[in-house]
């Protein structure tokens, strides 16, 4: 059993590794057990309902169940497919163009936008009563009232998928950029030298190496898209909704017996996510086969200029949609009265900003504290683990990898209920630290995910030199490796910060209402549909991680302004 290697303790650092695994494994398995127990009704909570083995039957018998399932399934596949294709082809086509830095610079703030904020922005933009039609009405379109068009909440989930795609593009862009330095880009030139088109050269020579490094983030996108709740609530189909929303409905049903139906549905949800992952895995093999065939036959796809322009346009639209959405949030946050078809508010007011100021500061500050501590702790744990892997010359085993990523792969809604019961039993809910602890479960994987590859790609000969000059391992770490890797380290921290800020369910359930953050407030206020408030809170929610993304790219530039070779200009990192 080579997998058991992860439980071997040989040093202090190994001890840390064990701590991390326990930190992740214990809550996750406890939560999963509670979930299964609830679905089969033998756990404490579910004993109350009496024995009933038909929870799964009830789920399947729900009208529209198969439509809900297929919705979740196809959204889970189409989102990563489109987002990944756009990102890969865009980078292939434009990596060496002068405008690339620009796009990368815009991408970072876009990454900071929480999913729900992006979804609201999109809603305000493309809905029949949204900004685009307001702009055209009534002069051009002739509409005095919004057309009865099925643009958002469409039964097939197109607008829903669109929102996910425009939010996942920056994420996949980000992880790809982190992976590029470890990839020999000269391969593209060789392939191009054989007469292949620019995009095709990249796809057959660089993409396979890059993809291996970003495969887990792609899996995380599949899991997220197939089980997301907030975006689905805003833009998703209604009758029937995706399965995740059905679970939420059952969880929120006043009839407490529906709790076990929700648990059964959550297990089915995990199954759907796994099925989507399996389908993707099969797709990988098909694509690999086809690409090999094309390469073997000597297809060169030389004339790809129109295609390049097309992908460039899609990228511009995707980024533009998010940016316009944010601009609309700004407008709505100061809109006193803004009725259709006026393109701009009739009455402007800072009422929400003024009346909510104290609450915004209070809950924003708490969210920032939680996010800062949980991502700082996660970063420390990740660094310790990576350094341990390096010093002991071990690589994470498969089991360790999957353990780290379970929190990203298992739908959050599916196991938060069990996790909150665990915290309750231990009597550690409701404090700032318990919220930090539960955030780490979700922040740690993202920090690990973004930092591991740049870390491992570091040229360790620098460390050899340092040791030859008499530096200890520790000093080499602090004085050589960490400073050189400052940019990716801060980038990983910023991403972790953003992930923590966006946590809703964990904060609500573990915080027990004692730890309101900007995000729990935003969701509660969003339930009232007041757009001025939604705009106000969503903006603050965006601003917090944005500050850290900005710092993450500024600090290395300032710190290394006199160290040209350390400047993160290469690949725009």
């Amino acid at each position: 059993m080579p997998n058991l290697q992860i439980f071997l303790v040989r040093s202090k650092l190994d001890m840390l590794r064990l701590v991390v695994l326990m930190l992740l494994l214990i809550p996750i398995s406890a939560a999963t057990l509670t979930l299964v127990g609830s679905a089969f009704k033998w756990h404490g909570v579910s004993e109350l309902f009496g024995i009933n083995a038909t929870a799964f039957g009830a789920v399947v018998a729900e009208p529209g169940f198969w439509k809900s399932v297929s919705l979740s399934f196809w959204i889970g596949l189409i989102t990563p497919l489109i987002a990944l294709s756009v990102v890969m082809i865009f980078i292939a086509a434009f990596l060496n163009s002068p405008s690339f830095k620009w796009v990368w610079a815009i991408m970072k703030p876009v990454l900071a936008v929480p999913h729900a904020a992006a979804a609201f922005g999109l809603l305000f933009l493309i809905a029949p009563s949204g900004f685009i039609i307001r702009l055209l009405s009534p002069e051009i379109s002739g509409f005095l009232r919004p057309p009865d068009w099925l643009i958002v909440n469409d039964p097939a989930g197109v607008s829903f998928a669109l929102a996910l795609v425009i939010k996942e593009i920056p994420f996949l862009f980000f992880v790809t950029m982190a992976a590029l330095p470890q990839t020999d880009l000269r391969r593209t030139q060789i392939a191009a030298g054989y007469g292949h088109g620019q995009i095709w050269s990249w796809l057959i020579s660089v993409f396979p190496a890059v993809y291996l490094q970003i495969r887990l983030p792609v899996f995380a996108v599949i899991a997220f898209a197939s089980s997301t709740v907030d975006v689905a609530l805003i833009l998703g189909p209604v009758a029937p909704p995706p399965l995740s929303i059905q679970i939420l409905r059952w969880m929120n049903d006043p009839d407490l017996a529906k709790g076990s139906i929700a648990a059964a549905a959550a297990i089915i949800q995990i199954g759907i996510t796994l099925l989507a992952l399996l389908t993707w895995w099969i797709g990988e093999h098909i694509v690999l086969h086809l690409a090999r065939m094309a390469a073997m036959r000597g297809w060169r796809f030389k004339r790809d200029l129109p295609f390049r322009l097309f992908v460039g346009a899609i990228m511009a639209i995707a980024v533009g949609l998010v940016c316009f959405g944010i601009a609309l949030l700004v407008l709505w946050s100061v809109a006193g009265v803004w009725r259709f078809p006026n393109a701009l508010p009739e009455i402007w007011t800072f009422k929400s900003w003024v009346s909510q100021f104290q609450n915004l500061v209070e809950t924003g500050w708490r969210a920032a504290k939680i996010a800062f501590v949980s991502s700082a702790l996660s970063l420390m744990l990740v660094l310790a683990n990576l350094e341990n892997e390096h010093r002991s010359n071990i690589r994470p085993t498969r089991l360790a990898w999957w353990t780290i990523f379970i929190p990203l792969l298992v739908p959050q809604i599916a196991f938060m209920g069990g996790l909150s019961v665990l915290f309750l039993r231990l009597g550690i809910d409701g404090t700032l630290w318990s919220v930090v602890l539960v955030h780490i479960i979700f922040v740690f994987p993202y920090v690990y995910l973004t930092l591991a590859d740049p870390w491992n790609a570091f040229d360790t000969r620098y460390l050899d030199v340092a040791r030859t000059l008499g530096k200890s391992d520790n000093r080499a770490f602090w004085e050589i490796r960490l400073p050189i890797l400052l940019a990716p380290v801060l980038g990983a921290f910023a991403l972790g910060f953003a992930v923590s800020i966006a946590q809703y369910l964990p904060t609500l359930l573990i915080g027990a209402g004692r730890q309101p953050t900007i995000t729990t407030e935003a969701v509660a206020l969003a339930s009232g549909g007041n757009r001025r408030l939604i705009g106000t809170y969503a903006l603050v929610q965006t601003l917090l991680p944005f500050v850290f993304f900005a710092l993450a790219s500024l600090v290395p530039k300032i710190a290394w302004s006199n160290r040209r070779a350390l400047l993160p200009t290469r690949m725009g990192q």
């Binding site: 529209g64 469409d154 039964p155 209604v238 969880m251 006043p254 709790g259 004692r514 309101p516 009232g528």
Partner: protein, 411 residues
């Protein structure tokens, strides 16, 4: 071991001395002592946090109970009351019998019934013993003692009343010169003549289910059957006219009936955006409030169905393991005070109708209500017509399930 034994006895004596106080639940009949006990306690009130107005009102309540009774009130803003019920349930199953996270919760009938059945509420009657309860109109308003067909039994304290009300813009061309459709036939005709301009919230959302019940009330021959539990045999026969009515209007609904509104606030937003022409709400003052806020035009008006409309009340309840029961009762009592009730009725503040009997109030108490002038969008008391009480609770589930089968499966 005599020393140990002595210690043991001492310890037991100490326990005995402490236990009666610990076990003694706060008693609203002994109000002065309860006030004393409440002083310095902190109440975590879990209440829907989706409305700026309501949050501001609750903050005002917090300031008042703090300066008057020394009680600290914190609103835990939630988006779903069921989350709170689940929270208390989790605490119950984890054995946390005191020091719970929830001190006071704003409940609707369904959640109250669930909490009552599950033993999640403070187990003895208390609300009827609150001093201000005597000012409420419990003699005439049945909705104050029967919450969603579940007997209140003093386990929750009334806070406001509600009645299903429709509202619209009277300056809208489709209404100019016509009275709004106040019968089901007229409403169906209106929907057919104005395709894409009417919708309701998808059940099991509360207002959506209520709309189904409202339509059902208007179509059954004998409403007595709705007071009985629904059973499969009569259900199809009784509800056949309801589905026929919904089938008739379905193709002419907003988005051709492929999308429904999410909830009350979504309906208001749709009306404000001019996506639909008629919205519905449980708060009769909502239209006027929205006019004051600038969400809806001054020409907004309300109407109710001519055969009566479904009405109910909303309440606050205290969980069995609340940490600050005495202070929670102080807050509940303050919520029923004439001053707090009058402020809540003010459409510039919230516009939620009072639970008090105006004729029980003395001059000073009445003065709080004197300055209130309901907006033109609010119906007068006479215009509200009959209140239809909720059908037996079993009808909700049955109607929701059948609706989902017919319209919610995306066929």
């Amino acid at each position: 071991m005599p020393v140990l034994k002595k210690l043991h006895i001492l310890f037991a004596a100490a326990m005995l001395a402490v236990t009666p106080v610990m076990a003694d639940e706060p008693d609203p009949k002994n109000w002065d002592q309860l006030l004393e006990e409440a002083k310095g306690q902190e109440v975590f009130w879990h209440a829907w946090g989706g409305s700026e107005n309501i949050n501001a009102y609750i903050a005002w309540v917090g300031d008042e109970v703090n300066s008057r009774y020394g009680v600290t009130l914190t609103q835990v803003k939630i988006s779903e009351t069921a989350n709170v019920v689940a929270r208390v349930l989790a605490e119950q199953s984890a054995g946390r019998d005191e020091g719970g996270a929830v001190d006071l919760v704003w409940v609707n009938g369904e959640n109250f019934a669930a909490m009552k059945r599950q033993g999640l509420l403070m187990s003895y009657p208390w609300s009827t013993d609150l001093p201000n309860y005597q000012l409420t109109d419990f003699e005439n308003k049945a909705v104050l003692s029967m919450d969603f067909t579940e007997s209140v039994d003093g386990l929750e304290s009334p806070w406001g009343t509600a009645q299903l009300t429709f509202y619209y813009d009277s300056a809208n061309p489709s209404f100019v010169g016509n009275s709004p459709p106040t019968s089901l036939d007229d409403l169906a005709d209106w929907i057919e003549k104005n395709p894409g301009r009417f919708t309701y919230a998808a059940p099991p959302n509360f207002i959506g289910t209520t709309f189904l019940k409202q339509v059902l009330y208007g179509l059954v021959d004998d409403i007595a059957v709705l007071r009985q539990p629904a059973d499969q045999e009569t259900f199809d026969e009784v509800t056949a006219p309801l589905w026929a009515w919904l089938d008739r209007v379905q193709p002419d609904l907003w988005r051709s009936g492929r999308v429904y509104a999410a909830d009350t606030t979504n309906l208001k937003t749709l009306l404000s955006d001019n996506e639909i022409d008629i919205a519905m709400t449980f708060n009769p003052g909502e239209a006027s409030s929205a006019v004051i806020e600038g969400l809806l035009p001054e020409t907004t008006r309300s109407f109710v169905m001519d055969y009566g409309s479904i009405g109910n009340a909303h309440f606050v309840a205290i969980p069995f393991n609340a940490n600050a029961k005495a202070a929670a009762m102080v807050v509940a009592n303050f919520l029923m005070s004439p001053e707090a009730q009058a402020r809540k009725s003010d459409e510039a503040i919230w516009g939620d109708p009072t639970v008090l009997a105006i004729d029980k109030l003395n001059v000073e108490q009445l003065s709080f209500f004197d300055s209130l002038a309901p907006g033109e969008a609010t119906l007068s008391a006479e215009e509200f017509g009959a209140i239809l009480s909720e059908p037996d609770a079993s009808w909700s589930d049955a109607l929701d399930a059948e609706w989902a089968r017919r319209y919610g499966a995306g066929n």
